[in-house]
Symmetry: C2
Subunit: 509 residues, 2 copies
Amino acid sequence: MTEINLLDIAKRRGFFWPSFEIYGSTAGFYTYGPLGSLLKLRIEKLIRDHYVNKEGCMLIEAPILTPEEPWVASGHVESFTDMNVECQKCGEPYRADHLLEEKTKKSTDGMSMKQVMDGIKKSGVKCPRCGGALGEPYDYNLMFKTYIGPGKNKITGCLRPETAQTTYMPFRRLYELGRKKLPFGVIQLGRSYRNEISPRQGLLRLREFSQAEAQFFMDPQDSKHHKKFDLVKKKMMTVVTKDVQDKEIAMTAGDLVKKKHAGEWIAYYLATSIELFERMGMEGSRLRCRQHRDDERSFYSSDTWDVEFKSETFGRIELVGIASRTDYDLRRHQEVSKQKMTVNVDGREFIPHVIEVAYGVDRPVYTVLESCAKREGDRTYFNFPPTVSPYQVAVFPLVRKDGLPELARQVYNDLNESGFYALYDEGFIGKLYYRQDEAGTPFCVTVDYDTQKDNSVTLRNRDDQKQVRVKISELPGALSMIMQGHMEFSKAGKAVAKPGDAGKGKAKS
Amino acid sequence: MTEINLLDIAKRRGFFWPSFEIYGSTAGFYTYGPLGSLLKLRIEKLIRDHYVNKEGCMLIEAPILTPEEPWVASGHVESFTDMNVECQKCGEPYRADHLLEEKTKKSTDGMSMKQVMDGIKKSGVKCPRCGGALGEPYDYNLMFKTYIGPGKNKITGCLRPETAQTTYMPFRRLYELGRKKLPFGVIQLGRSYRNEISPRQGLLRLREFSQAEAQFFMDPQDSKHHKKFDLVKKKMMTVVTKDVQDKEIAMTAGDLVKKKHAGEWIAYYLATSIELFERMGMEGSRLRCRQHRDDERSFYSSDTWDVEFKSETFGRIELVGIASRTDYDLRRHQEVSKQKMTVNVDGREFIPHVIEVAYGVDRPVYTVLESCAKREGDRTYFNFPPTVSPYQVAVFPLVRKDGLPELARQVYNDLNESGFYALYDEGFIGKLYYRQDEAGTPFCVTVDYDTQKDNSVTLRNRDDQKQVRVKISELPGALSMIMQGHMEFSKAGKAVAKPGDAGKGKAKS
């Protein structure tokens, strides 16, 4: 879909745009507009409902701003850093390793600060912006810091770089709320922060971003089997293992476990995540599971996998990270806080192990857009599934007179009351269809003169532009059935032979 | 309900608790547990759905962390301050005006810094904590500040003290997305921050809190009438006007306007907000509308009202502020950013005026709890309406054997699939009822031996503990009807004459 300028549509139609535009914008911050915030809301709901209802997770909501201790425990204070280098002339900051990579076209993976520094000096990299000389690179901590409270007794505050630690901190309380049973899961959705040196990739690399992170606490002696694994074991996936990173293999979740590439827990959440992404509207063929190489994995993790989306513009985009974090985090909180994190099961005292399933929520907003963008002739539309489309149905009067707007508003109100995300609009019908195509609204309802006679309306399907005539009283039921896949669109009513005025959406923008 | 220790139940049952407990907690930060986060989520949904669906507002989501300029424009950098005074011995900070009020038992409203300083010296107030001498009071800015980006070119960042300005900044974009029509509304939900000097009142005064703020932009020449005002004009409200603050008057929204206490826009959102709070489960008799006095209102506002809840523990709690903000904010952004905020309507160039409806979301979580807490004998329950209760229905097997758990799980799964917030649990039935009463779950379903024979289950009503027998196939429909008020509980099935084992919930905790 390279011919569609996604970022242009996103801005123009109000999905998202760079924040603080009137003050010149600040890199790494985006604002979701009316369509984007609804799309994001529904993606979040899909993830949350899945983990709360289907996986039985507890939902919690902790503050974003925290004292510094938890990040001492987690290691962020010490090592949540990137190599920064600044132009000595204009002050522009850069990721030192990225600059070197761009210059030499070679990977800097695993290079030490000294190696990068030497590389920069040797290759003669200058400031890409003004040509000035670069200073000495240094480790730059990516946490935003502030002070909590006034005066002498104020303490250092940090904007959390991940939700995970804010879920681990109240582990004891959560364990007791779950009546001391293992395993149990907890999910938290919310903002996190990363003071990137020089973020450039729109929604993909934000300084303020949204996450949905689920943590599963378990007895390490009892962590081999996932009780629902059978439900996903036939799920076919594209897989890249840690040892062969340049070869994709198609295999089932069951084979992933049988061939000992991953344990049941990780395989289960890989398969589940792919299903979730598909339900959001991403094409399955663009998704793959990639295992982290041994030299890339965090030191405390015994196994880490990502699900990646293949973008035509940005290459591979990581959508979720699934990691076995062992007992590292809880143990560190126990060490730093001096509070007990052990549990006692049948006389065995141990710190539970954790499997983390960590979704970004901004990236799916982008990848769903990219995956759903379609062009047919001069028509651009997003074929979002009704579960995530910002609006599910739009209602229009054919003309702005003769009582049709009032009648259309009534149909709109009824759909709203029935729980649909509905929208009311007026104007030239072709133009209205065009607008809803670009908003990805799956269904449009037009109220016309016949409606006054027979209480039926024209229902138009976004994807094939087919139209049927449906009784107003049957509209909510029919829409529900179609959306849930229990009814074909064409069966919803009488096919409309001649589209006529409420036609093919050939309007100019 | 003074006999119920709400904060104890809230902590024990996982509604909310002070954050960072393992690190000694930090005043002004709370974590929502499994029940509280669901309750908050549903309160947010109620507000959001109302404004998006019923009021036709656009939804947007802007970053929390911003550059400093917007807060220069709004006046927060200069005057978002409290008077701080610290103990010279132990360093403990205090609100200087509050200390003086406590000592003299007289209001410090409207006092200047100098007057408060003199008052403190004259009355000989010491540090309440250690008895040490107090330092000089000073204006303390309540914004959390940080730096965005590294090195020389970093800029000052602020955690927003309100969502409002982050909605005003993209005004032009929103105006264009709404196709340049006035009036139009925009709502934003999200966190905001206030670095309180010494927060002490739990969820009522947080340093990190959640808001839901709607902004309505309008032509000042066309701001007299609200097109839906007729819908609320008969709504009866308890009112306190700016001139007579110690007298509550009962009057309709219509009379409020007719007697010129408020305009239609403000009266409409006062009435609408009260209806929303009642739908959340707050008793109408505890709610009142209070107009700000002239000496208390912000200088840029031409009229401001609060809806207050009468708490037995905390006195009057402000739940929403409804203010006419004139063209102040947009004009200030135009002045500071040099970007045009005017619109052109029929040749008239003007800056739109704004009516703001600003809800806190943490406070309703508390006031709904307080208003819904009921005690009957040794039974404590929350009579949350099903629209906001964390879970709507809980499903249990009568015993943990003979296939009943499997059957109960199936009923639970079906309810989940039907869109209910359902919960599965096992144990002694009386104890399970007791637990769900304390969680405010309106309905419990018990699967027993008869279920295996006749496919029916016992449905138990939280408020009166009555029980009926309902066919499994009819359960989702019956629950929907009861929840929407279309069916009485007793009509949902055959009354259960003898509660027997699945009895009166007399279990000990």
